[in-house]
């Protein structure tokens, strides 16, 4: 088919071609991380001894979530890989609030993210510190807010609740793993494809210059950076390199906001999280994370 298309001299209009190129690029870039995330989820659900992760955690809710927010240090997985892993943690008995804490913190404090952010910015203007401290604080605050909800299971989609309640079948570990791979990819892959398509479409439709002209205003530059993070949907492992060239145009606080907000919330992530959390939860999470990351940016602008 490829040969026929190439031979016919057929070409798509530029915008359609770029929409496809951008969407495919998001998929090819994310797919290895999603596979890695599914593998880790299989390890957590099938291969780790029962209660292994819980053993080391304090019982007090706040301290427990603080411990969970540090899990990501050992996991070089960026945000899209964390979605299947978070689902696995919930199946294994983490509360919704605890897994949200993990989900928000892990992409920011994963070792690759810290190394690339340090390579890009060093310790200039406190951007690296703001990212790590701000990201951990936001994850713990948002986790605490959701822990106050009286009915944790009402935060989840019915299909994911059904997944958690699947009866335990006596089965070989290998067969369970394969079965889990089929079910997790059915939940995550369509969301990844749709998220990639939406991210591509927004990028073709919204001129980048609109965002960049806002760069020099202390408040608007922060909003512009959140919008940019939202539409660009680039992995937390590499977003520091992406934003580095903008460091000349934008204030340091807005760069920090980009680096805190982007790994947690973007179009691709929302599409993938919708497999697990209700729309209401995602809206609330987006609003709270946006306000807190704007606050991180304002503090950096004020101090730097």
């Amino acid at each position: 088919m490829r040969a026929i298309v190439e031979g016919s001299g057929f070409s798509l209009p530029n915008q359609v071609q770029d929409l496809l190129t951008l969407s495919i690029s998001v998929i090819i870039e994310s797919l290895p991380f999603v596979i890695l995330g599914i593998l880790l989820s299989i390890v957590v659900q099938v291969w780790l001894p029962e209660g292994f992760l819980m053993r080391f955690l304090p019982h007090n809710g706040v301290l427990r979530r603080a411990g969970i927010s540090l899990f990501g240090i050992f996991l070089p997985v960026c945000e899209c890989g964390n979605v299947p892993l978070t689902r696995g943690l919930m199946v294994k008995g983490f509360t919704v609030a605890e897994s949200i804490t993990f989900l928000l913190a892990a992409p920011i404090i994963n070792p690759i993210t810290i190394i690339t952010t340090h390579q890009a910015f060093g310790f200039d203007n406190g951007i690296l510190i703001a990212r790590i401290v701000g990201g951990l604080a936001i994850a713990n605050i948002v986790g605490w807010v959701f822990s106050l909800h009286p009915s944790q299971s009402s935060l989840l989609t019915p299909s994911f609740i059904a997944e958690c309640r699947r009866p335990e079948h006596p089965d070989t570990k290998r067969h369970k793993s394969v079965d889990l791979f089929v079910r997790e990819s059915s939940a995550i892959m369509p969301a990844l494809f749709i998220g990639a398509l939406v991210a591509g479409a927004i990028q073709v439709a919204v001129p980048r210059s609109v965002l960049i002209t806002l760069g020099s205003d202390p408040l608007f530059s922060i909003l512009a950076m959140m919008l940019l993070a939202f539409v660009i949907a680039v992995c937390s492992n590499v977003d520091a390199f992406f934003i580095l060239p903008f460091a000349n145009t934008f204030m340091p606080g807005s760069i920090a906001t980009f680096l805190v907000f982007g790994p947690i919330i973007d179009v691709k992530m929302l599409a993938m999280l919708r497999t697990t959390f209700t729309t209401k939860v995602l809206v609330q999470m987006t609003v709270v994370v946006a306000l807190l990351s704007a606050l991180v940016g304002l503090v950096v602008n004020y101090v730097a």
């Binding site: 298309v5 290895p32 369509p190 494809f193 390199f241």
Partner: protein, 249 residues
């Protein structure tokens, strides 16, 4: 039938992703989508995915505990999602790999707004020899053009650059950019960088998105509507094939 679709949709999309990745890895096309430093990781994870897919095809399917099929609006939505994902999957496997076009360059500002001093620094190159400048890419020149519009700096410095044509939005008839995309991770974050070229009525012999090699020197931009004070004045211009690594890093 519907149960089978719902059960296997994820594996099918993984297969589309890994077929596309492996084909691109073999014909060198992965660099059109991701930065070269991720190629090894991507290919390794793809091979692991291939093993998982193979294992899942040989294992007996356990349909008995799949959730009950949805009805009404939720079902309509999931049909829509599967169709949309399927279209992308088919495009991924079926269409030839492509670079981003001038449409995205215009949309993200072809002058290279985000290219800063990290590419080249005016002070450190001002006394360099001609041979150095001949090797400069459009990114190097875009970086210098952002730093100084002092004509004496560009005097007698030879320019020899390759890129694709993007029309200047302000004077599309007489000015175009020789442009390249700079990528840090993947095509999604591509930033255009371009050198403005003044060539009256260039559309009569060239067209947008065409790859060209241009030589010449910088001088004041005679265009009245273009916003760029300096433009490349052409000595030679000839169409070339798209390079095998079209993006710069």
């Amino acid at each position: 039938m519907w149960r089978n679709v719902m059960h296997w949709r994820g594996v099918a999309l993984v297969v589309a992703g890994l077929v596309a990745t492996l084909v691109l890895a073999m014909n060198g096309g992965l660099v059109l989508y991701i930065h070269p430093r991720y190629i090894v990781f991507t290919v390794v994870m793809t091979l692991i995915a291939l093993a998982l897919v193979a294992a899942s095809l040989f294992a007996r399917p356990s349909h008995d505990h799949d959730p009950e099929p949805a009805r009404g609006l939720p079902r309509l939505l999931s049909v829509f999602a599967i169709v949309a994902a399927g279209v992308i999957a088919i495009a991924m496997v079926g269409l030839p790999a492509a670079t981003l076009t001038s449409a995205t360059a215009v949309q993200r500002d072809p002058s290279g707004l985000s290219i800063g001093k990290e590419a080249q620094n005016v002070d450190s190159v001002s006394s360099a020899r001609s041979a150095v400048f001949k090797k400069f890419t459009v990114v190097d020149w875009a970086s210098l053009l952002r730093q100084t519009s002092d004509l004496s700096f560009y005097d007698s410095k030879p320019v020899d650059v390759t890129g694709f044509i993007t029309a200047d939005p302000d004077d599309p008839e007489n000015v175009f950019y020789v442009s390249r995309f700079v990528i840090t991770c993947c095509a999604v974050d591509a930033q255009p960088a371009g050198v403005p070229v003044y060539l009256e009525n260039w559309g009569s012999s060239l067209k947008a998105d065409q790859w060209v090699r241009v030589t010449g020197g910088f001088a004041a931009n005679p265009s009245e509507s273009s916003k760029r004070p300096i433009a490349l004045h052409v000595s030679t211009i000839k169409p070339v094939e798209r390079p095998s690594a079209p993006y710069l890093y």
